[in-house]
């Protein structure tokens, strides 16, 4: 513990940790300047610093590692907090067809690539998840930055994000159970148990979540923040103990909270999440030797190209179903390209379980590409295409 350490060591830990956070701050600033998501920048930071990088962290690596665990928990908590149970239920009715297309079209390339690489079955399932899940964080920021929240195609984009949120509630426990099983087949019985447990918890959360929300509600921001945070960490810890993965536990707490607590908690947890999530992305990068990226670059680029296309198709189709015209369909499609935090969370589960050494590198390279290309495509592609269409059309009379 730092408290028991000699003063000189405390000084060293504080200085090193300070430099790490400062470095992350500079990366976030650079990302903001370029109007890009900071996630790829943190990853690159981790690659440069960690194993095989330019410098290695000395004393603060364990702190960053713990911070990264908390980062995953908070990312999943805020994912659960993002939508109310009514919104989830409402969406399940209208958004199901697009949600199913989203799963099929975007998980398939990852699964096929994993099979072609001859990976372990569990790593294949994880890679499917990596290519499936869009980055709701990056996408909501892009929509807000580009003033597209009010656009009429936006509900179809949000609906897909909500469906992915729901899909995670099933996918994460399944993956967690598979990973404890030792192999794909051996894990199947525990998948059943995990799913039943989650279904039970989910049912209880949606039915009786109000009890938890009322218990945690307080006028004081501190009391609310600490209450929610404490509950989440305890549940995440118990979930990890039961081999259901801490992430799943945190996600369920987020879903169970509703009403005023939900709204205020997501505002209060936001800044903390940003801090610890930065530690998580950094730590993920730390564990990867940049030299490992070279052999997987081809796979990552191919996957990025294919799954950018499949996401555009998914968004296009979903918007078309809602009666949106062509330019809007293209905006919806390109908005969905970005992958980010949750692809890394999913790959992280595999990395910490120690299956398929190349999974981490593929996911990192893949997210690096699409977390940058996604927002850029969302911003420029629709305008470019519209411009070209206007050029090829004869000018309307009277203009």
């Amino acid at each position: 513990m730092i408290f028991a350490a000699a003063p000189a060591e405390v000084a060293l830990v504080l200085t090193e940790l300070g430099l790490v956070v400062l470095g992350l701050g500079l990366l976030a600033r650079l990302a903001d300047r370029l109007s890009l998501s900071p996630i790829p920048f943190y990853l690159v930071g981790g690659l440069l610093v960690g194993r095989g990088g330019l410098v290695t962290l000395d004393v603060s690596e364990t702190i960053v590692a713990v911070g990264s665990e908390i980062g995953v928990v908070l990312l999943l908590l805020t994912l659960g907090l993002e939508y109310s149970s009514e919104e989830l239920g409402e969406n399940l009715r209208v958004g199901l067809p697009a949600g199913v297309l989203d799963v099929v079209a975007n998980a398939a390339p990852g699964v096929l690539a994993g099979l072609a690489l001859g990976w372990d079955g569990r790593a294949v399932v994880l890679l499917g998840g990596v290519t499936y899940i869009s980055s709701s964080g990056v996408i909501s920021k892009v929509l807000a930055d580009l003033d597209r929240l009010g656009n009429r195609e936006t509900p179809s984009v949000l609906s897909i994000l909500v469906m992915e949120d729901l899909a995670m509630a099933v996918y994460l426990p399944v993956v967690a159970a598979l990973l404890t099983g030792g192999s794909l087949l051996a894990g199947l019985p525990s998948v059943g148990i995990a799913l039943a447990t989650v279904a039970l918890v989910l049912f209880a959360a949606l039915r009786h979540g109000g009890v938890l929300s009322r218990a945690l509600l307080s006028h004081s921001d501190e009391a609310l923040l600490l209450g929610v945070l404490g509950t989440t960490l305890v549940v995440a810890g118990i979930a990890a103990q039961l081999q259901v993965s801490a992430a799943v536990g945190a996600f369920l707490v987020g879903i169970a909270l509703g009403g005023a607590v939900q709204e205020r908690a997501s505002l209060l947890v936001g800044p903390l999440r940003d801090l610890f999530a930065a530690a998580f992305f950094l730590f993920f990068g730390l564990q990867i030797d940049p030299a490992e990226l070279v052999p997987v670059a081809g796979v990552a680029v191919a996957l990025a190209l294919v799954t950018a296309g499949t996401k555009v198709f998914t968004g296009w189709w979903a918007a078309k179903r809602m009666g949106i015209a062509r330019p809007g369909r293209l905006r919806a499609g390109t908005a969905l390209i970005a992958r980010g935090e949750f692809s890394i969370v999913i790959a992280g589960l595999g990395v910490s379980a120690g299956i398929e050494p190349a999974l981490g590198a593929v996911a990192a390279a893949y997210v690096l590409l699409l977390a940058i290309a996604g927002p850029v495509a969302a911003r420029y592609v629709p305008a470019l295409v519209t411009e070209r269409a206007e050029h090829s059309r004869p000018a309307p009379a009277g203009h």
Partner: protein
């Protein structure tokens, strides 16, 4: 004749309201969950996109509403709600001189005296709905009362002087 307003839920964001004006332009308001508002003006060529988005904070929203005359509408609505079939709702302050201050509702027997029900009490930032007979009124409270206009007048007098 008011245009039909379309309401769309935006999960994780808020609610969007929009309608088509008599001139044929689509305009809307995006009400964020955080309380922020965006005024949306849709494009005529690409009707799914916004040509202009004006971000408004709480004060801006109020200012714009005032300019558009919405406040008159809400005043009239409030007026309507306060006179339902001979019933009046009113907000009555409890003064220090009132005999009711420091006594329970049962002790003051306000309903028996005036026929008016106190449906809620506003105390500071707090609202106490449906106070029971054991509820003690205090100086500075505001009683939300429902009853006949005459009863309300009587109650007002009691809460002022007792």
């Amino acid at each position: 004749m008011m245009a039909e307003v379309e309401e769309t839920q935006l999960p994780g964001v808020g609610v969007r309201y929009d309608f088509v004006t008599k001139e044929g332009d689509r305009v809307g308001v995006l009400a964020h969950r955080t309380g922020r508002r965006e005024l949306l003006v849709y494009d005529s060529v690409d009707p799914d996109a916004c040509r202009d988005v004006v971000r408004l904070d709480a004060d801006d929203t109020q200012t714009l509403a005032e300019l558009l005359g919405t406040s008159h509408v809400s005043e009239r609505l409030a007026d309507l709600q306060q006179h339902i079939e001979g019933l009046t709702i009113d907000w009555l302050p409890v003064s220090a001189t009132s005999a009711c201050a420091g006594r329970t509702l049962r002790e003051s027997a306000l309903r028996t005296e005036t026929g008016v029900s106190i449906v809620a009490v506003v105390r500071g930032d707090e609202t106490i709905p449906a106070p029971g007979g054991d509820f003690t009124l205090a100086q500075g409270d505001t009683a939300v009362a429902v009853g006949t206009p005459e009863g309300i007048k009587e109650l007002f007098r009691l809460l002022q002087q007792g």
